[in-house]
Symmetry: C2
Subunit: 487 residues, 2 copies
């Protein structure tokens, strides 16, 4: 397979943006069925190309073949799920208010409101999910479903895979009758920045580090016309083990935790990075002795050096000690690493200790009382997830759930945060620095809202109204009519 | 009536923010019925205080008593409408995915998602609606309904009214059992800026000028933890009169337009600031001769001097001439002013000519063809509204509606943009610079979404779940269960 993966030139970028702009206007007018058909066509083409794509992904990311096959399946499932959602139409939030002379604040005109596509979207691909958060990942899928064109800034970690996915998807889109330029790829940091500043781009989406994401967020907001920027940045995904849970299921929790923080060599945004356990329990000892998986290659050398640097930094902290040997945890590839501290140390220096370390390591913190457990929950920054390992009878649970729901996009009970299912109710987001947009999600069907904006039509004759807003409901979608939902 | 309207000190601000933070945690846990009861209690108290409040508002804003009575009615209607919406519960977007071992991407856990309050909200009051976009205006109403506490930065144009409304509302909230500190007022620019930068504030909302709003938007985004900032800034609200409409209803359109752009002395964010008419029609002549209302006082001297400065600037433009005399249009109070230019001049210098002039003036632009009309629509910046005066048979209408829906939050047909009804389907927003948040609205029941963020609960036992997410649906609200909406 050969593909163009050189840095995009300014002239190429101009052509890409002009085509994306034209394609967006066309695509926004297509029916839900046409958009759904195109999404399914991409999914079919990618599934068929798995034998070609997975080996390239493996070469470029060091991820195992089984994981990559699963990730590709997730990616194409997501495309088909969004196609189904388009037929349902509930995401349009269609509202019809008939004119009403008796409206208490004064006669009401006929007003109808529906969500419409924002326009061309720029998606910055992530390193750690070469399929599911990359060229045809969640943001691209939801933007295309919403009726937007998409320009993807390719991640430098897997350029050949990106080119291949882009080519296969573009061919499938052409075959399905989608406009030329609906999906395009940009290579190189400068091209990504230039595209983000271009007035034709109407939203940005990003998955990656806090410094990188914040820089792009700031850039998007610095534009003469600022645009929505959906950045998913960092999260330590703390896990709170109650005293009762430690007593009832300590060893089970230990082995599940080790499996979760080492999954994908710890290169998941939902990796549980901090585990709080009762000091009075034997969990720290059990964690020290628990068997850990073999060393696994990280995505690339840049990730490896970032990982070892942040782990070395953590181990320099006065309140932190390695849990188990340190011989090979900084090796290449690194053995999974556990460190240990106390909850009171977390409370004393949250900035120094409660930080994301991207890779196969986690910090265990012992607490003296469940009051201290709550205190740690209260000082957290925004998180993608927060997990409780508890028992139904735990007195601390209601308050802990309440506090964590204020901090995290997803609160888990007796489960583990890695492995984010694509469903209708999924929420992958959270207050800053988990994301720059706490009111939205990047996984699950609700993510389509990122790329939609409401438009109201007042007094329009039926023939000028979008189908979603006509009285006879030709699309057969849920409509809120005079305030009451009708399905 | 006496009230404290001095600049808020740093110590007072600290007390206000600490109380707002505590109140927010409490209020978020209250039932929908409790929140609704408090909103209705405020509405009742404000209605009862109309004889006290309206004269103060009149003194401070120069607005006529009838208008102020109507605005207060709108404000209390809005509080009651939001109370009703709380009972419906559809705004929570409750989603329940039951665990499903056969989920195609792999076994799905039980995940449930609902919208929860963001936390304390800072609302910057507007000058031009001393009731409806001020202390108890739309943003305060939707934030309180959402379950957030509210700190209002009082507008310097009506401090005594603000203090009185704040006192009455605070008393009503206390009476209704709401937590102390749920609603508080801040006086002075510095206090507003300091509050916006405080980490306890989780969202900002603003209605006012482009420079003022952009400065606050930039400040909100500069925080270590950036927060959603909902700014409603500027809009010229263009009106497009088709050739057929001019021929069929020219004189009617002229008189309706004059009534709309002079309503409230032109001090509405939805004032139609530009009217496009066919050169071949007699509409320019009719506009020149149309009778205009008598001069009316503007809100205050600062508004008056800003108005005359921007009107003088416009009249200096080579392509602009006054339409009718100029004798008294810059006087105090000013007579309503019309100016005239051409659509080709708008196309040649959009930045110089398509600008908001806050006050009783509008620009009439004659066009040579409906192709030129479309060309003007295509170069517009974001708008709150765009209006078409057309006939059902207009060939240009479908494309004009499509282009304008991409530019404006609300598209009107044969109606006028002033007088924004509070309804379920209302949309008051639009792409920048109309607002800084094109995906939201500041009027209508959908505005509650501004102050909510999604939280998913995975694997929680029923007793730890919010009522909105329980299988037995104790709140009787719409739930999306396994992807299908059930009401």
């Amino acid at each position: 397979m050969t593909a163009h993966t050189d840095t995009t030139t300014a002239e190429e970028l101009e052509n890409i943006l002009a085509a994306a702009d034209a394609a967006s206007a066309d695509w926004a007018q297509r029916t839900a069925a046409e958009r759904a058909g195109a999404l399914v066509a991409i999914a079919d083409a990618l599934d068929a190309a798995a034998p070609e794509l997975v080996p390239v992904a493996q070469e470029e990311t060091n991820l195992p073949t089984a994981r990559l096959n699963g990730e590709l399946k997730r990616t194409t499932f997501q495309l088909r799920l969004f196609a189904e959602m388009l037929a349902d139409g509930g995401y349009l939030d269609a509202r019809i208010d008939h004119g009403d002379a008796a409206w208490p604040m004064g006669a009401r005109p006929d007003i109808r409101r529906v969500l419409e596509p924002l326009g061309p979207v720029l998606v910055f691909a992530a390193s750690n999910f070469p399929f599911a958060f990359s060229v045809l990942g969640g943001d691209t899928c939801s933007a295309l479903a919403a009726g937007c064109s998409v320009v993807v800034k390719v991640h430098s970690g897997h350029p050949r895979l990106s080119a291949a996915v882009g080519r296969i998807a573009t061919d499938a889109l052409r075959e399905a009758g989608a406009p030329e330029g609906l999906l395009a790829l940009v290579y190189g940091t400068q091209g990504g920045r230039d595209a983000l500043l271009d007035p034709r781009i109407k939203a940005g989406a990003f998955t990656g580090s806090i410094p990188g994401g914040r820089a792009l967020f700031d850039l998007a907001n610095s534009r003469p016309e600022p645009i929505p920027f959906y950045g998913e940045l960092g999260s330590v995904n703390p896990v709170f083990v109650t005293e009762a849970a430690a007593a009832a299921r300590g060893p089970e929790i230990v082995s599940e935790f080790v499996a979760s923080f080492t999954m994908g060599a710890g290169q998941f945004c939902t990796k549980p990075g901090i585990l709080l356990v009762p000091e009075a329990s034997s969990m720290v000892a059990e964690l020290s002795e628990a068997s850990r998986p073999a060393p696994a290659m990280l995505l690339n050398e840049r990730i490896q050096s970032g990982y070892t640097a942040s782990l070395e930094e953590l181990l320099k902290h006065d309140a932190v000690a390695p849990l188990g040997g340190t011989e090979d945890i900084l090796a290449f590839p690194p053995a999974p690493a556990l460190s240990v501290t106390t909850a009171s140390a977390l409370l004393a220096d949250p900035e120094g200790l409660i930080t994301e370390c991207f890779g196969p390591s986690a910090l265990v913190a012992s607490y003296q009382s469940e009051e201290e457990l709550l205190a740690v929950a209260r000082i957290l920054d925004g998180q993608l997830t927060a997990t409780i390992q508890g028992e139904d009878t735990d007195a601390v649970a209601p308050e802990l759930v309440r506090v964590l729901a204020g901090k995290a996009g997803r609160v888990l009970w007796n489960q583990w945060p890695t492995g984010v299912s694509v469903t209708y109710a999924q929420q992958h987001g959270g207050p800053y620095p988990a994301t720059t947009a706490p009111t939205s999600t990047s996984v699950g069907t609700a993510s389509i809202s990122r790329f939609l904006r409401p438009v109201a039509y007042q007094g329009l004759p039926a023939h000028l109204l979008p189908g979603a807003l006509r009285d006879e409901n030709p699309l057969g979608i849920p409509q809120r009519v005079n305030g009451a939902l009708a399905i």
